[in-house]
């Protein structure tokens, strides 16, 4: 059975060759869809490589054999043996804690937000697909959503510290939930969530910057005609804020946008990851 595991490696090697011959694509490059630089064969129809690669390193079957043999040598009864082996297949559904449930829910929300952004990205950026008002409303929705996610994360964070302090006073709460590792894990969960949210928010900031840039570009040729909207003061800027006399409604809108954008730009900490 040692051969099985080792053969796995060899098959893998062979399967890549096979995949490459069939697909005629370079299986070593990650496909465009991957986010985490995981390999997907671009041509999944032919590519059994992905599943096989994982499967052949998997020696759980060997482990099961070892368990079976050990159980026999320990004198397990038929029923006990059956129960033991069944535990490999049947996993009793684990009851997740409140904390985990909430965290997963928040993660889902962030995922939804990301999908929303992806779907409307083109609409938002392309000037001909949406009106200013529609874009404003997209912005508004996204901002509200981000805020909601942020709040959820804050609640999660607070619940950790609550539990920390509670477990010291209450007799009923088991020690399991309050050990240092569990608390560290929960902080880890919160950190992961906030990093993910931050990354999505940065993506959106980037989109807004594009919109702003376009707004600027549009006002450029018109600078001789009408007064150009000014910027809210940024620290190192030497420009001063001035009330502008806009004759154009579009410019009025874009000024508000610009101010808001720059407010957020200067507030956003240190740029993307």
């Amino acid at each position: 059975m040692r051969v099985v595991a080792e053969a796995a490696a060899a098959v893998e090697i062979a399967v890549v060759d096979q995949c490459q011959r069939k697909c005629r694509r370079d299986c070593s490059r990650p496909s465009p869809q991957t986010l985490a630089a995981i390999h997907f064969c671009p041509n999944q129809k032919f590519c059994t490589f992905w599943t096989k690669m994982a499967r052949f390193r998997d020696i759980t079957e060997d482990f099961k054999d070892a368990v079976r043999r050990e159980a026999l040598s320990l004198g397990y009864t038929e029923s006990k043996m059956a129960a033991t082996m069944a535990s490999f297949i049947i996993h009793k559904p684990r009851e997740r804690t409140q904390f985990t449930k909430a965290a997963l829910k928040t993660l889902e929300s962030i995922g939804t937000l990301e999908q929303f952004l992806r779907k409307h990205r083109k609409d938002y950026v392309d000037l001909h697909r949406t009106t200013e008002q529609e874009r404003d409303s997209i912005e508004h929705e996204v901002t509200v959503f981000i805020k909601a996610c942020k709040e959820q994360i804050e609640i999660l964070k607070a619940s950790i510290t609550d539990e920390e302090s509670n477990s010291k006073g209450w007799l009923g709460i088991s020690a399991d939930n309050s050990n240092a590792d569990t608390i560290a894990h929960k902080h880890g969960v919160v950190l992961i969530l906030s990093e993910k949210l931050h990354s999505v928010a940065s993506q959106f900031d980037h989109l807004r910057a594009i919109r702003f840039q376009e707004a600027i570009n549009r006002t450029m040729p018109r600078r001789k005609l009408s007064h150009v909207p000014n910027l809210n003061s940024v620290d190192h800027s030497k420009l001063e804020y001035e009330e502008g006399k806009e004759t154009d409604e579009i410019e009025l809108n874009s000024r508000g946008v610009q101010q808001q954008l720059l407010d957020d730009e200067t507030r956003s900490p240190g740029g993307a990851n």
Partner: protein, 618 residues
């Protein structure tokens, strides 16, 4: 397809972190279990640390990470991913963790293939504590090697050279060492997913490793033959890479010589390890830096000589200052009440581009500061030890084949650590074929006077003398010599000085590089014609003569220890070619000159040459 070992290993690790499930393209995490705890042993920590940062761990849902032998508390509701070597202590610890129900679910991953008995130990341990249901999956990951750059890896196999050249090592011990190397190489090939053509010089550890590796690959390829519909095909040699295996004794000088290029200097002098470095900062405290290919200065200037590096730092600094001035100038703009429309919008654009370029400018400055710091510390070491002088004189010695005695003495009596002087003295031994015994004695005396332990010097002296006496064996000493020679597997020890001939021809052309060039070209060449060829895919009977090249890609493996000088030289070779070729360089461990000397010293003492009792090098 260009072989990128770092990328491939990273992919495997990321897949492992995602519990070996396919990754959801939108969330970037596995669907089933988003959060997990990672547990590793020290060896696997070294594998992970050059490849993945803590914040990248978080991207894959890892909330906590621990060493396996640390005291850990239970954490519920989250699976644990173990990534450890398949050793008895690790197995026992996993079984103990499972019995204590530290975590709900265990995903166990071994860095190399776990031997059957150990797997059974794990099974029995978990059974006895009734915790089988906790162990969800067990994997052999075939990742037991450390990748430092896209094309540089090490097996982290300590003291391999000592073990292989130890006169008291028995057959079984040597076999165990060879197996370990073969297992590591097998992991590399499995990760790259290639079955190369293998070539090596005759005799010695290189042939042993090559032959054992060939056998291992054959066994595996034969086992599942039915999956190959086009089984037994010989893909053209152009697509399969060549694996060239060498032993350190092939070219000893490279491991000892002082080099004056940036990467080798930083490694040799400042103790670069796993791409990390700690140096005294300018303001006092210790600073820790990371040096890998994501550092543009390091990647671009690693092979420059040190003075050129200093110039380059200066250049970058001036460019940076100029760019900052430019930004300031543009955003300066008009001050005062009058606001000309054109200026405003123009300034806005400049302002925006300035804001956008700030992160980039900051990063550039950080890189410049980092290397200024490193170069400053290096410079003080160089000055204190006259390393530039050592490097130059050793080079001259090798090229000329001799050195003026007064110059030699002045070096041995001059600046430098004991190791510096030892290295210089050994280079002297290596640099010329025939040195009168009297001269050697004088050098030894000078070393002793400088209170330097001469064991390593004695060892190389012995090796060299064996080479001479092998040619004319006298009956009196035959017994010892044959024994000793047998221990070295009949390897030609003239290889010790072989490197000299090649150095004489072109500048800094290592024997290794010339040989690899010849092997990759595949044309008939007296230097390599005697080399053995293994093709794990071909039936044993075939001659395989059509698989001698040319090769676009190669993996070069040095048994017994290697360094950045060899790596750099091979990369130079690869880039010189038309079209550009790809060479991955690996070794059993990456050694500084000082560390290698220590191993030579240990061997010298083992042979009773040094005097004091032998203690294994760190």
């Amino acid at each position: 397809m260009s072989l990128n070992l770092r990328q491939k290993q990273s992919e495997c690790i990321i897949r492992m972190l995602n519990l070996n499930q396919p990754v959801n393209a939108t969330t970037g995490m596995a669907n089933e279990e988003v959060y997990k705890i990672l547990i590793y042993d020290r060896f696997c920590q070294d594998i992970l640390s050059p490849l993945i940062h803590v914040k990248d761990l978080r991207k894959h849902g890892v909330t906590l990470y621990f060493l396996i032998d640390k005291e850990r508390k239970p954490v519920g509701d989250v699976p644990a991913v173990y990534f450890v070597q398949p050793t008895t202590p690790n197995i026992q610890r996993i079984a103990a963790d499972a019995s204590k129900s530290l975590y709900d679910v265990f995903h166990v991953n071994f860095s190399s293939s776990i031997p059957r008995p150990l797997l059974e130990d794990l099974a029995s341990g978990a059974l006895k504590s009734d915790s089988i249901h906790r162990i969800s999956k067990v994997h052999d990951q075939y990742l037991e090697f450390v990748t430092l750059e896209d094309n540089l890896f090490s097996l982290a196999d300590k003291n391999c050279f000592v073990q292989l050249n130890d006169p008291s090592a028995g057959d079984r011990e040597i076999e165990a060492i060879v197996d370990k190397i073969v297992s590591g190489l097998f992991c590399v090939l499995a990760t790259l997913a290639v079955v190369p053509i293998i070539r090596c010089p005759q005799g010695g550890p290189a042939e042993m490793v090559a032959s054992a590796l060939d056998q291992k690959l054959r066994d595996h390829l034969l086992a599942k033959n039915n999956l190959f519909t086009e089984g037994g095909n010989f893909t053209s040699s152009f697509q399969r890479p060549i694996l060239c295996i060498f032993d350190r004794n092939f070219e000893l000088a490279v491991g000892i010589q002082h080099d004056f290029r940036y990467k080798p200097l930083v490694h040799d002098v400042l103790g670069l390890r796993l791409n990390r470095l700690s140096v005294q900062g300018e303001k006092g405290g210790m600073k820790s830096y990371e040096l890998d290919n994501s550092d543009p200065f390091w990647a671009a200037n690693g092979s420059l000589e040190f003075p050129e590096v200093a110039v380059e730092i200066e250049t970058q600094l001036n460019k940076y200052k100029k760019d900052v001035d430019e930004v300031n100038r543009r955003t300066g703009g008009t001050k005062g009440a009058e606001l000309d429309g054109s200026d405003l919008v123009g300034n806005t654009k400049h302002l925006m581009s300035a804001v956008n370029s700030l992160p980039e400018l900051t990063e550039r400055k950080q890189v410049i500061d980092k290397h200024t710091n490193i170069a400053t510390v290096l410079l003080s070491e160089i000055k204190e030890r006259s390393l530039d002088s050592y490097a130059k004189k050793e080079y001259d010695m090798m090229v000329r084949g001799s050195i003026d005695r007064s110059e030699l003495m002045s070096v041995l009596k001059g600046k430098g650590t004991s190791n510096d002087k030892l290295r210089f003295a050994i280079m002297y031994l290596i640099s010329s074929e025939n040195i009168p015994q009297s001269e050697v004695d004088i050098v030894e005396a000078a070393l002793r006077e400088a209170e330097v332990d001469t064991s390593s010097f004695q060892y190389v002296k012995k090796i060299k003398s064996l080479n001479v006496s092998l040619a004319s064996v006298s009956s009196a000493s035959r017994g010892n010599i044959v024994d000793w020679a047998e221990k070295l597997y009949g390897q030609s020890i003239s290889a010790v000085t072989a490197g000299v001939k090649n150095l004489l021809s072109s500048d800094r052309q290592l024997a290794l590089t010339r040989t690899v060039e010849a092997l990759m070209e595949g044309k008939p060449n007296p230097e390599i014609d005697s080399y053995i060829l293994f093709d794990p895919r071909a039936p044993k009977s075939s001659s395989g003569s059509h698989l001698r090249g040319p090769f676009k890609e190669s993996i070069v493996f040095m048994i017994g220890g290697g360094n950045y000088v060899e790596h750099g030289s091979l990369q130079e070779l690869a880039h010189r070619q038309q079209p550009v070729k790809h060479i991955i360089y690996g070794t059993t461990e990456i050694l500084t000159g000082g560390e290698f000397i220590e191993q030579l010293a240990f061997l010298g003492k083992k042979m009773g040459l040094g005097g004091s009792t032998a203690a294994a090098p760190n």
